[in-house]
Structure formats: C-alpha cells, structure tokens
Symmetry: C2
Subunit: 197 residues, 2 copies
Amino acid sequence: MTIRRLEQQIQFIIEIDKLKQIVRQTYLTDASRRENSVEHSWHLALMAMVLSEHANDPDIDVSRVIRMVLVHDIVEIDAGDTFLYDDKHSESKIDREIAAADRLFSLLPTDQAEIFRQLWDEFEARETKEAKFAFALDHFQPMLHNVITKGKSWQKHGVKKSQVIEKSRPMQEGAESLWEYISDLLDYSVEEGYLYE
Amino acid sequence: MTIRRLEQQIQFIIEIDKLKQIVRQTYLTDASRRENSVEHSWHLALMAMVLSEHANDPDIDVSRVIRMVLVHDIVEIDAGDTFLYDDKHSESKIDREIAAADRLFSLLPTDQAEIFRQLWDEFEARETKEAKFAFALDHFQPMLHNVITKGKSWQKHGVKKSQVIEKSRPMQEGAESLWEYISDLLDYSVEEGYLYE
C-alpha cells in the first residue's frame, strides 16, 4: 500500500461529491423539490435490496446490482443529467458520457478504474440479468415518484403515456411483475389526469 | 408472491424518500450547502467500494459493509440527525433511534424487516469487522469534508481537536491506516486554523 494509491482513491472520493449537485427532473415524493442523482442512486440501491425477488431471474447477484446502481450516474458529473424524454440531447448523450467515464474513473488506481468502468459498461449494455434488473429499477423509481406527485414532472414536460411506455417497456426484460405493477399505475395516472393519453 | 407483499415493499420505498430531507451538519466539499443523510450514505457506500483494502481485516465482506452504510441512517427519518458533538441530544439518541427502527423496518414484510433490523443492529453494536469498518467510514467522510471546507462545520460549532479525537479514535478498530491518514489532516487543520487546538 503506497500513500500515492490512497491519495488517488481520496481524490476520486472528493470528485464524486459533485454528483450531489446534479439535479434530475424527478420530484421528491412530497413534491417539495427535484431530487439529485445521488439521492436517486441511493434510492435504487435500497430498491435493489427490497425488490430483488421481483427480478425475472431469481438467481440474480443483488450485490452487483447494488454496486451498478450506485455507480451508474457518476458520469453525469461531466455529462449532466439527460432527461429521458429529451430526444435532442439524448442523441449526444452516449458520447458525452463515455468521455466522462474516461476522465472520472481514471482518477482511481488502474485496477479499480477498470472495475468501475466494467460496472458502468455492464449497466449501459443491458445484457446481463443484473443490468436488466438495474434498468428496471432506474425506470420504476421516477415513474413511482410521478404517480405520487400527481404527475408533477410529466405535467411540466407534457409527457404522454405512449412515450413512457416506449422508453420504459424494456423493464419487462428485467422485472416483468414490476412492469405490470407500474403499467396499472400509468392507466390510473391517465384516468386521474396526471399523464396525457 | 402476493400483491400485499409488493405493496408493503413499495410503502417502505416511498417512506424512506423522507431521508433525503434530513440535513446533516457536514457541508458539501464546495461548501455551498449542508448535505443530507442520503447523500452521506451514498458517499459511504462508494467509499466502502474504493477503500475496503484499508480495512484492518482484509477478509472483510464489502457487500455487507455497503448494505450497512446504505441503511444505517434510515432511523433518522423519525429520530433526526444527532450532531456528533451535541452531547445533550446524544443521551436520548439511542432511545429515539430504536423507536424509529421499530416503526420503519416493520413497514417491510416480516422476513425483510428482520434483515434490515439486523443490519442496523450490527452497525450500532460495532462488534463485527464489517461494522467496525463502516464506523470508520462514517467518521472519515465528515472529517474529510471539514478539512476540504477549511473546517466550516468545526468552526460553526467551535469543535476542538480533542473532541474529534475522542469521538473518532475508535476508527482504529476498523481501519488503522485511514485513522493515521486523517490524524495527519487534523494536525494540519489545527495549523491552518480550521480546528481549535
């Protein structure tokens, strides 16, 4: 163990503090303010702990899902949060995020930079059962917050049910039952006027 | 799987959103505002991932440390955050937090309520190597933020180096090298006038 190694690790730990300042479009459940990407990530990690039995594959590695969701938004420190329904910005999203991953994870010692990059790449590729379940949680959480806040973010941005379904239906690949649960809440949200038909 | 079970899990997930509103005495590293307990918990989980090689016991179960730190502050939803150097409030802290744990974790299905309670009890008891390391991270993070913000929270509350050492020295039981690292920064902080001698 060299001091240099610990110094690199501490620099990374200080740098990621900036993720607390990246504000998302999703509101807290009491609608008092928008949440930031750290709050979102913590919430997903807790959801992974509580909801893993609803993953399509019961043999899922929950600890890996937890790590993946804790890390998945760190690139937003450089790339910013891209709103799911902002198609214009979504085009450049992946390039911005790859550049961010290159810079941010390389603050770590090489072996750890690789581990973090693999977690992020796995999340983005959405091929493993863990990444598919992480994707499901990443979409389930803001939808749940929208239903609870009477569609506050949906209303603000004029989001339609067909858009929500198009973006979030791949949740089925990770957690069919959570998709069914939230689909019912989308129907309810249209009935209540929280979400445009 | 019953709908009732999923409903209970969702109620817990919604309830813990309130932890995003519990503000701590620690400032973000840019000193712009105080952080909340969710931000602190996420930061500790990332520190567990990055710094686990500095635990006294190399055979530590990192995934358990991550879960422990993600869960350790949930009781603050009811009990509030108790400032480490507030001895008056610290006396009643444990009673308030036990009542909170009783209420909050019991929102979950019984089997999961037990798992969460065990994680919290383990953290509080500080007997296992994982709990000792989690304690070390829980103390290391706010000290690091204080050094970076030129002692912003220490200054505000007139905290002395002897108090910091008294409260945080048990870090040694979990991570001797992190305690040494931060001890040097405490000396530096006194020299710079960030922390009272």
